[in-house]
Symmetry: C2
Amino acid sequence: MHHLNASRSQRILRLLEELQLPNEIKQYARDPQTRLAPPELKAVHPLGNSPVITDDGKVIAGSGAIIDYVIRRHGEGRLQPDPSSAAFDDYMQWMLYAEGSAMLPLLLKSNVSRRGAAGAPLSPRIESEIDNHLGYINASLEGRDYLLGEALTGADIQLSFMGELAGLRTDRAI
Amino acid sequence: MHHLNASRSQRILRLLEELQLPNEIKQYARDPQTRLAPPELKAVHPLGNSPVITDDGKVIAGSGAIIDYVIRRHGEGRLQPDPSSAAFDDYMQWMLYAEGSAMLPLLLKSNVSRRGAAGAPLSPRIESEIDNHLGYINASLEGRDYLLGEALTGADIQLSFMGELAGLRTDRAI
């Protein structure tokens, strides 16, 4: 597990803990000036993004892809609904939603906020998009503990990023 | 299939054609002023985003989620590798990559370009991110016709958006 500070790696640590999978963590630090990942991380994966895991020689990059991979290959049925069930369709929809739609306005906000006044004109639309997504997630959690109902799944871990970052100013690079 | 102009629906049309699945298309138009989806689309899915499909009463939103759902439930083995194979891990990684990482700088660019001069300070970093992703995709396609090798999969359809939009100014809303 290749861990970069101020990145989406936190979710992967939680996942590995939840499944009690043995792992080894390698730390990387962003360049304090540019906020970019260091070249050593580029050597692990060409995009130089974190999180990245190496499992038995296979490299998987991106938090959603890692959560999906770890649960499919090492979950032994935990943290996801039975693939033949209708709940699995909802699970996959949440997994892809978290990686795409929900993440975008948060990353836009993070990116724009680092530009100070130059980014200010973009803010109202971004804030309204974040409200839209948070409202949708809140409504979906109404009357249940987890997105899929009674049991924690990878979709909750994947979307936890959204809850933690919402409303906070972040210093994560795009 | 609920189709909004200037949106990611094109990929879904291609997917349905590829699998020769019978479907019905319902057209929606963005508000010309705000570029937002009309309220009727909100009635189909609370986020009011396109693309959205309705299949036997089930609503699936988001291009990645739709491609995944249609191929899993109606593909009969077409357009994705065998789920037990190592190629399936790569397939899922591309599916999640396309929805998240690859899309972000394109949507940032689209969003920023609509702000004219106000968005200009953000552009160099966004362009460099787009180059980074295009370089990665190009390198991955080196010596093969499709992302997974010889056969077209949902991952190619999902990422086709990237190829079409790269370098173009778009008017898609976030």
